[in-house]
């Protein structure tokens, strides 16, 4: 019996018990779609997390002051020491001493009240340098960031976060408007593009002024820099930049031993790898659940095939009496089982991909459709048909024609 003939017979058999076939196919379909969606969800979440981390600046190094030790020997938290200065920042910006550092943004911040006539809004005002948008990966929605000459002139200019602008002016389009901080009037020259939030810090609610203006007008008492953000030239030079910064600052602070440094340098790398590991575990878990769904689907195929063999014992006997060899019978049932697997697989892959495209809009989390997962799932679906079809098919092939014919 030719393959075409075998396939035609198999399809006819599937059609002859349509309801059962559909239910079996649905079982496999759900399994396959679940695999594709869960893998996609896992990958999507991983992508989201690494993107939001790299939006903080993937080449970013953060230098914070060390902890202060009181006279009684009580050690304060990191950052409690006022050990970083604008001189440190300037030194780190030198391209000869630190060739792997692309940008330096020292930051000093304090909480202030911004006023626009009757409206006032309390937020964090940050003094920094012109390199800040580059180092912190911030773009502008409108207007521009302050320039070197603004800084040198201690100009009363401010760049606002989009939310801050919204709160003060009722619109994010606030360039050209003015506001007052401690009765000093500032001109809004730029509004930052939206960034969302990082941890519990709202990155869209802030005001940025030149460091010189900040020191002169806002917080004259503390000349200290609270944080220095460094941008390495690339991800690859991150550790070189780390070394350069550490050596430079130890020298500047006259410290010989790295262990007693009065500052600390951290990067986002540890955060990225932790998050990745968490999501990998999550993906493995989801895939395991999906695999169980597939197994259940496979057992469904085996069940329907066993029922089919039992129900058609007489037909098998007849076919054998008419000259069908055991192999022809086995092939017929395998084709039937594989077809169920294949149909379920194709429909499941379709549903999975469609779900992967439609769900992100509903769930708000992205789903990355992995084509290798789609093809693997298809192969598994066909494999399920084959593997779970073998036992029923072999049982059919082994039936003695005389017994099979006697069956009522």
């Amino acid at each position: 019996m030719s393959w075409a003939e075998t396939i035609r017979t198999g399809l006819a058999a599937i059609r002859s018990h349509a309801t059962r076939s559909v239910l079996t196919v649905v079982g496999i379909l759900i399994g396959i779609a679940a695999v594709i969606l869960t893998v996609g969800l896992g990958l999507g979440t991983q992508k989201d997390v690494s993107e939001s981390i790299s939006s903080l600046g993937s080449n970013l190094l953060i230098i914070r002051p060390g902890s202060a030790v009181s006279l009684e020997g009580v050690r304060g938290g990191f950052g409690s020491l006022a050990s970083l200065t604008m001189d440190d920042a300037a030194a780190l910006g030198s391209s000869t001493a630190a060739p792997d550092i692309a940008g330096v943004a020292p930051e000093a911040s304090t909480g202030v009240s911004l006023e626009n006539g009757e409206t006032n809004w309390t937020t964090t005002v940050t003094g920094t340098t012109v390199a800040w948008p580059l180092v912190r990966w911030r773009g502008l929605l409108q207007g521009e960031f302050f320039s070197q000459s603004d800084a040198a002139a201690m100009a009363n200019v401010v760049v606002l976060g989009s939310e801050t602008a919204q709160e003060l002016f009722g619109t994010a389009w606030a360039v050209g408007r003015s506001l007052t901080i401690d009765s000093v009037t500032y001109e809004v020259i730029g509004v930052l593009a939206e960034q969302g939030s990082s941890g519990n810090t709202n990155l869209d609610d802030l005001a940025v002024v030149p460091m010189e203006t900040y020191v002169a007008n806002i917080s004259p008492t503390t000349a200290a820099v609270q944080t220095i953000y460094l941008q390495a030239t690339s991800q690859a030079t991150l550790s070189a930049a780390y070394q350069e910064a550490e050596t430079l600052l130890l020298n500047l602070h006259g410290i010989t031993e790295a262990g007693s440094a009065d500052f600390s340098i951290s990067s986002q790398d540890a955060l990225v790898s932790t998050a990745t590991a968490v999501y990998r575990t999550l993906t493995v878990l989801l895939v395991a659940i999906a695999a169980i769904a597939l197994l259940v689907g496979g057992i469904g195929v085996m069940n329907i095939m066993l029922v089919s063999v039992t129900e058609r014992t007489r037909e098998i006997g007849l076919r054998k009496a008419l000259g069908a060899k055991p192999n022809a019978i086995r092939r017929q049932f395998l084709v039937e089982a594989t077809t169920l697997g294949l149909v379920g697989g194709v429909l499941g892959a379709g549903l999975g991909v469609a779900g992967g495209l439609a769900l992100p809009g509903v769930l708000g989390s992205s789903i990355v459709i992995s084509w290798s997962a789609v093809f693997l799932a298809l192969a598994v679906a066909i494999g399920i048909g084959l593997v779970f079809g073998v036992y029923p098919a072999t049982r059919a092939a082994k039936l003695a024609p005389v017994d099979a014919l006697r069956e009522e």
Binding site: L318, A324, P326
Partner: protein
């Protein structure tokens, strides 16, 4: 001589065992059937008649003894080879018709040709010719459920003959039919016989059996030959 012997059974025994109990259905049967003979096998139920028919049709193998069909010893053959023998040498007509309900008549008739490896166009041509031979040229696209019992049995005869087998083996072919249909079917057997085919008909109906050239009676696993031309030695 060997060519004219379609069937030769020598001391064939068949024992069924179920647990410790052994039941000997055939207890040393020897039988020869010539090319073109019309033989009726009769006997009460439980006599071993069905076992004999299964062995003759290569649906079952003997426990001991030798069976040759068309000169080939099939007594030690494995299932795949037996399938080939059935396909090429034996045509079956069953009491229950055993037609596949989901297929039209001509598809049922072409089924043995599928297993014989005949191409689709040739299959259809031969299936239609075989159906025309049994007077069903106008019913080829009917499904078994749309045909009367007599017509269904004619479809099975067409299916049995489509491969041109050496032996037509019919098991109670009229058992499920009214007398008119039964007469029609038997006249087809007569015609098939006159065309020179070997026909073995198993029946418990004496009237049916009398139409054959030769009558073989099976009792308690042994055969008593009631042939008009006494060829076979009864043990």
């Amino acid at each position: 001589m060997a060519e004219t012997r379609v069937i030769r059974l020598t001391e064939v025994r068949k024992t069924y065992s179920s647990g410790d109990i052994q039941f000997e259905a055939l207890r040393g049967v020897s039988l020869e059937i010539n090319q073109g003979e019309y033989v009726a096998v009769t006997g009460p139920s439980g006599s071993g008649k069905s076992t004999l028919m299964n062995i003759l049709g290569c649906l079952d193998v003997a426990t001991s003894g030798r069976y040759e069909i068309a000169g080939q010893d099939v007594s030690r053959m494995a299932e795949p080879e037996l399938a080939d023998i059935r396909c090429r040498w034996v045509g079956f007509v069953f009491q229950q018709f055993n037609l596949l309900a989901s297929m039209p008549a001509w598809r049922n008739v072409e089924l043995p040709l599928c297993y014989a490896g005949v191409g689709p166009a040739e299959r259809k041509r031969r299936a239609l010719a075989a159906l025309a031979d049994v007077g069903l040229a106008d019913r080829v696209n009917y499904r078994p459920g749309q045909l009367s019992g007599g017509q269904q049995q004619r479809v099975t005869i067409a299916r049995a003959l489509v491969t041109g087998p050496a032996l037509l083996l019919a098991d109670e072919p009229t058992g499920n039919l009214d007398s008119t249909s039964a007469r029609e079917i038997l006249s087809i057997f007569d015609r098939v016989h006159h065309e020179g085919r070997t026909v073995v008909l198993i029946t418990h109906d004496r009237d049916v059996a009398r139409r054959a050239d030769r009558m073989i009676e099976v009792r308690d696993g042994l055969i008593l030959d009631r042939s008009r031309s006494s060829l076979v030695v009864a043990p």
